[in-house]
C-alpha cells in the first residue's frame, strides 16, 4: 500500500501544501477517496508551467498551482481548499456564472480579455487574461465533478517579456552555434556583456579571460596591427559601423587573420547603449586567396615566358582565350581570335586541315596538328606544331588547353640535314671516283714506281687539303691567296716568289680545281722550271668584268736562267689547266712554254654556289611535308 500522505508527489510549493492539508476534516474528504479524474487533473495542474486552478465539488473548492500563486497575491496561501465564492467575492458574479455554466453544460468555455487586478510582488497592477475553463467529468462523461481553468495572461508587458525571452534564447542559440565570434560591449561599464564560444576556438583562450577584463583583448593583437586597430576602435563608439582586418597571435604562437565588424546598438531613447560585433576568422580564406593568386601568377609567368603560343578553346573547339604571344605573333587580338577568328592566322591552304583536326580531336580526345601561322610582323607563314589536351570534369571535356610551337627552324634544319647527308654521299662517291681517275691518269708515262707513287701521293694530298678547308665549317669560302700559299709553302722560298692580287673568295668547286692545278704547276716547276733552278716565280691575279659577270684571271709566270725543256707529251698539269678548267669551271686555261720560262693562264667566272654547303640567299622556303 502506498502511504496516502505521500500524495500528490512533487517538490513544488503547492504540491507540498496539498499533501499537508487536513483533508480528513474537509467536505471533500481524504484525497485517497477522491474520484480518479479529480486526482489525474490535480496531478496535471500541479505540474503545469502556467497558472492553473481547479474547482472541485458543488461548492467549487479551490486548488491551484505555483504559477497561480502570483495571481492570488495575499489570498495565497489561505485560498487552498476554500470555496471559490469565498475566495473571489469581488468578481464572483461573473466568475460564478461561468463556472456554473461549465459544470451544467459539461463543455469548455473560453473567456477572453478579462481584466484582473493583480497583486504581484506586493504591488497591485491591472492585468488581462484569457481564461480557458474545462469541466472535469466523472468517468470521462456525464456528470461534472469540477472545473479546471488555465490562465493565459495577455497583458502587454507579459507578452513582450515572453517574446523577449524567446528572442534572447534564439539569439543565444545562434550566437553559441556560430563559428564567428559575436560580442557585445556594455557602453556604460565598458565590459563585455556577451562573447560567443567561438572566441575560445579562434583566439585559443577561454572567454572568461576577456569577460573578466576586456582590455586583455588587446594583448592578442599582432604588434604590427596594434596601433591601427586601436585607432579604429573609437569609430564604433561614435555611432559608425567599422570593419577592421587584423591579425592575432594566439598563445600557441599561431597567427590568424580576423575580419571584425563593429556596430552601435542604440537604446529605446536613441542613445548608444551597447556596441556589437562579429569577428570572423578569415585565415583560411586569406590562404586560399593567396594560393589562387600565386597559382595565377605562376601560370601567367609561365604562359607569357615560354616561346610557345598558348590558348584555350571550348569543348566545341572554339577559341576562347589566347596568350599575349599569340597576339604578338599573329597580330590578332583576343577579341579577333575568339570563336573561329583564329583561323584568320592559319595559312589558307591549311584551314580545311585545321578544322578537320579539330573534328578528329573532339572524337579522339586529343589534338595534334601541323599548320602554318602567319607572322604579322613580316607576313611570313611559318610551320607550327599545334597540340591540345582536354580539361576533364567528371569525365566530360569542359575545355581544351593548347600550345602552338614554331617548328619552322626545325623543319628547315631537318630539310637541310637531309640535303647535307645527300651532299656528303655525293662528295664521298665523287672523291673516290676522282681518286680512281687520278690513279689512271697518273699511271700514264711513269716507268718508275717510286716516282709514280710520289706524284700520286702528292696529288691525293692536295685533294685532301682542299677537302679539309671545305669541310672545316659549312659555308666556308676559300681565300685564293691562302690556297696558293698552302700549295707552295713547302717548295718555294719567299725571295723567288712574288704574289699579288686582290682578296678573292673561291667557291668549293673552284677551290678543288685550282688546288690540284697549282699543285701540278708547282710540282712541274720544281722538276723542270723556276722552283728547281735559280729562277723566279710570279703569280698575279685580277678580277675583271666580262659580259657574263666577274671573272677571276690568274697568271702563273716562271722566269728561268737556263732554257726550259718542254715535256714531249701532254702531262697531267696540262690536262688540269687546259681540260678541266674549261670543262668544270666554264672557264679558260692555257700553258705556254717559252725559252726563258713558262706562262700559265687560268680564267673563270666567279660565282657562288656549287654546293649546298654554301647555300645562297635564295634557298627554297616552300617545304614539302
Amino acid at each position: 500500500m502506498k502511504d496516502p500522505s505521500a500524495w500528490p508527489p512533487g517538490n513544488s510549493t503547492m504540491a507540498r501544501r496539498v499533501r499537508e492539508f487536513d483533508w480528513e476534516g474537509h467536505p471533500l474528504g481524504p484525497i485517497a477517496d477522491w474520484d480518479r479524474e479529480a486526482r489525474s487533473v490535480l496531478m496535471m495542474v500541479l505540474g503545469a508551467p502556467m497558472p492553473m486552478n481547479m474547482y472541485l465539488g458543488p461548492d467549487l473548492f479551490l486548488l491551484y498551482n505555483d504559477p497561480a500563486c502570483e495571481l492570488f497575491g495575499n489570498k495565497h496561501p489561505d485560498a487552498l481548499g476554500r470555496p471559490a465564492r469565498d475566495v473571489f467575492p469581488e468578481i464572483w458574479e461573473a466568475m460564478g456564472r461561468r463556472l456554473e455554466q461549465v459544470m451544467a453544460e459539461a463543455r469548455p468555455i473560453t473567456a477572453e480579455s478579462l481584466p484582473a487586478a493583480l497583486d504581484r510582488d506586493g504591488a497591485p497592477r491591472d492585468a488581462v487574461f484569457n481564461l480557458h475553463s474545462t469541466p472535469i467529468l466523472r468517468n470521462g462523461e456525464g456528470q461534472s465533478i469540477g472545473v479546471v481553468t488555465v490562465y493565459e495572461e495577455v497583458t502587454e508587458p507579459a507578452i513582450t517579456q515572453r517574446a523577449l525571452r524567446k528572442s534572447e534564447e534564439r539569439f543565444r542559440q545562434f550566437a553559441d552555434a556560430s563559428t564567428d565570434v559575436i560580442w557585445i560591449i556594455d557602453v556604460e561599464t565598458g565590459q563585455l556583456e556577451y562573447i560567443s564560444p567561438a572566441f575560445e576556438d579562434t583566439w585559443g583562450v577561454p572567454c572568461s579571460t576577456v569577460i573578466e577584463d576586456r582590455s586583455k583583448w588587446g594583448q592578442f593583437l599582432h604588434p604590427a596591427d596594434y596601433e591601427r586597430v586601436m585607432a579604429a576602435m573609437p569609430g564604433c563608439a561614435s555611432g559608425n559601423i567599422v570593419t577592421t582586418d587584423y591579425r592575432i597571435v594566439r598563445p600557441d604562437g599561431e597567427v590568424r587573420h580576423i575580419r571584425d565588424k563593429g556596430f552601435p546598438i542604440l537604446g529605446p531613447d536613441g542613445t548608444l547603449t551597447r556596441i556589437g560585433g562579429i569577428a570572423r576568422d578569415i585565415t583560411e580564406r586569406k590562404r586560399q586567396e593567396k594560393a589562387v593568386e600565386d597559382s595565377e601568377r605562376r601560370f601567367r609567368t609561365l604562359v607569357e615566358g615560354i616561346p610557345q603560343l598558348v590558348w584555350s578553346a571550348t569543348s566545341e573547339g572554339e577559341c576562347k582565350w589566347v596568350s599575349p604571344q599569340w597576339t604578338e605573333y599573329t597580330g590578332l587580338s583576343l577579341e579577333q581570335s575568339v570563336g573561329q577568328g583564329w583561323l584568320e592566322a592559319v595559312h589558307p591552304d591549311d584551314r580545311e586541315e585545321a578544322l578537320g583536326d579539330w573534328r578528329h580531336a573532339k572524337a579522339g580526345g586529343e589534338m595534334n596538328g601541323g599548320w602554318r601561322f602567319r607572322r604579322a610582323q613580316d607576313g611570313e607563314y611559318r610551320w607550327f606544331q599545334t597540340r591540345a589536351t582536354p580539361v576533364l570534369e567528371r569525365g566530360e571535356i569542359v575545355e581544351w588547353l593548347g600550345t602552338s610551337t614554331d617548328v619552322e627552324d626545325i623543319v628547315d634544319l631537318q630539310e637541310r640535314q637531309k640535303l647535307l647527308l645527300a651532299e656528303l654521299q655525293h662528295r664521298v662517291r665523287n672523291l673516290l671516283a676522282m681518286v680512281r681517275s687520278i690513279i689512271r691518269q697518273s699511271a700514264e708515262g711513269y716507268e718508275d714506281v717510286d716516282d709514280y707513287v710520289a706524284h700520286l701521293t702528292g696529288r691525293i694530298d692536295a685533294m685532301a687539303r682542299t677537302q679539309v678547308m671545305l669541310t672545316r665549317r659549312a659555308g666556308a669560302a676559300i681565300d685564293l691567296e691562302s690556297l696558293i700559299r698552302d700549295e707552295l709553302a713547302r717548295v718555294a722560298q719567299d725571295e723567288r716568289l712574288a704574289m699579288a692580287g686582290p682578296s678573292v673568295q673561291l667557291s668549293a668547286k673552284a677551290a678543288e680545281v685550282l688546288t690540284l692545278a697549282i699543285h701540278e704547276l708547282a710540282t712541274n716547276s720544281i722538276k723542270y722550271g723556276a722552283l728547281g733552278s735559280e729562277g723566279r716565280l710570279a703569280i698575279r691575279w685580277f678580277v675583271t668584268l666580262r659580259e657574263s659577270g666577274e671573272w677571276l684571271e690568274i697568271m702563273w709566270e716562271e722566269k728561268c736562267p737556263e732554257p726550259v725543256v718542254e715535256p714531249s707529251r701532254r702531262g697531267f698539269g696540262t690536262e688540269l689547266i687546259e681540260g678541266r678548267v674549261p670543262y668544270e669551271l666554264k672557264g679558260e686555261g692555257t700553258i705556254c712554254v717559252r725559252p726563258d720560262g713558262l706562262l700559265a693562264e687560268i680564267a673563270f667566272p666567279l660565282k657562288a654556289g656549287a654546293s649546298i654547303l654554301e647555300p645562297g640567299p635564295g634557298s627554297d622556303k616552300g617545304h614539302e611535308r
Binding site: 651532299e423 664521298v428 687520278i438 670543262y583 668544270e584
Partner: protein, 135 residues
C-alpha cells in the same frame, strides 16, 4: 661474261656499235674516262658536257639514242635536264653519287647507277636502253 673468240677479250665487244650516246657529267676526268670506255664499246659519244644549256641544244637537235646523266652540274642536284629528256623521249640513265632519297617521285623509276661505277655495267645498261627503244 662471254668472251668473243674473234677479238679474244671482253673489251673487244662493241655492244654500242653505231649508237649515239650523250654524256652529261660534271667531272672532267670521269667524263673523259666514260667517253673513252663508251668509244671502245663502239658508241659515237656526244659531249661530254657539263653545261645544262648545251645538253638542251644537243637533245633538241636529235639523233641521240641514249644518254647518261649526272644530276649535279656544279649547282647542286638538278632534275631539269632529266625532265626535258623525258619530254623529248630520249632514253637515259642516271649516274650519280646521290642517294635514292634525293630523287623526286616522278623520276624515281628511272634506271640509276651509283658512282664509282663499273664501266662494263654502265655499257650494259646503256645497251639495254638502246635495245628497249629499238624494239
Amino acid at each position: 661474261m662471254k668472251t668473243d673468240p674473234a677479238f679474244g677479250n671482253p673489251g673487244g665487244k662493241r655492244p654500242l656499235e653505231g649508237c649515239r650516246v650523250l654524256i652529261v657529267e660534271d667531272e672532267y676526268f670521269q667524263a673523259r674516262e666514260i667517253a673513252l670506255a663508251l668509244g671502245r664499246a663502239g658508241a659515237e659519244v656526244v659531249g661530254p658536257t657539263a653545261r645544262a644549256q648545251e645538253v638542251e641544244q644537243l637533245v633538241r637537235s636529235g639523233g641521240i639514242d641514249a644518254a647518261m646523266l649526272d644530276i649535279n652540274l656544279g649547282d647542286g642536284a638538278s632534275f631539269e635536264v632529266a625532265r626535258s629528256m623525258r619530254e623529248l623521249s630520249v632514253p637515259f640513265l642516271f649516274l650519280t653519287g646521290y642517294d635514292v632519297s634525293i630523287f623526286p617521285d616522278d623520276l624515281s623509276d628511272r634506271p640509276r647507277l651509283e658512282k664509282p661505277v663499273d664501266q662494263e655495267r654502265l655499257i650494259e645498261r646503256l645497251a639495254e636502253l638502246v635495245g628497249a627503244k629499238a624494239s
